[in-house]
Symmetry: C2
Amino acid sequence: MRADAQRNRERILAAAEEVFLERGANVVLDEVAKRAGVGVATLYRRFPTREDLLAAAYSARFETFAETSRRRDAELDPVSALRLYLEELVQHTNVYRGLAASLGTVLQVGTPGCAATSKEGLRLLERAQRAGVVRLDVTFDDLVCVATAISLATGQHTSSKVRISHLVDMFTEGMVVR
Amino acid sequence: MRADAQRNRERILAAAEEVFLERGANVVLDEVAKRAGVGVATLYRRFPTREDLLAAAYSARFETFAETSRRRDAELDPVSALRLYLEELVQHTNVYRGLAASLGTVLQVGTPGCAATSKEGLRLLERAQRAGVVRLDVTFDDLVCVATAISLATGQHTSSKVRISHLVDMFTEGMVVR
DNA sequence: TCCTATATGGAGATATCCTCCACTTCGCAA
DNA sequence: TTGCGAAGTGGAGGATATCTCCATATAGGA
């Protein structure tokens, strides 16, 4: 990519981050372009769909999230690790209002951060399954569905950390082998 | 309501049912008006928002659904009844492609069928809670969010009865007292 | 039959998405 | 350096969708 294009790409991501934070994941994209000081065409050329932009804007956060999770691996038993992963995934999803409904799509976009997050989730899931503490019929997509449900249930109202934690507990219990 | 207005209302609902089934819940509403042989203004006057129209068009189905659920009350234990309710709610939601995202709003619109469905869900939930088999901190809104998430996760692909059932199981497990 | 509250339709104002293309800029090769 | 082709750009405007305004029509009671 040409240097100027790269520069614009970064400006767009910075603007997207700001605008999504302020006004949610469903803002008019012209607003993002304007804030980035760039034409809409440039934005659409680089990020053909809203999900592409969301995934890219969120990539860095997701990257950090995955890395953090990976790093504390040894400290937690498989179920606690999975539980915490889910809780943090929901919290991240709630950062952009309206992201919940697209979480599945966004995670599939394949941005480095999204890929890392999916990979880490899968790793934790499989670890727990190998340890025989989580049901074998649970898939990573199921986890995403759980995170979506919790995010939908808690996203509207101002971040109720307690309630998120509560719901995560509840549904993690549902996945545990008894 | 004047007789001609009533007639038009019914035509709009019949057209909406057809069009939503064929092309999903996000079709252009002009299409519905055209098929009903009515101006758009008439449609918007009667159903100010898409959700109003969806709720009205879906009212009959939801009515039947609630009634069916109510009728088999004696045959099932509280958890099985709740589980089946959830599964059927998701299946109904998937009938109109794209309805999932509006499920919460639609259920709140207060059409007779929607009200009956909410009421029945709440009844089943409270019955299970009184029987001490479902956690007391689960609300009806949580159920709706779960149904929405499952519907979002399964709605795109056809023939996902197995997957729906699996996800419903998982979430139900989580809500059960152990 | 008349009269008016009620209802109608479709043109068009408004909003959003996305593309086209004339023009600009980068950066390599000579 | 400079020239030049490939890469990139912006914003006007087409396409699509939503929703309203208001001149006109009509049901149905008096």
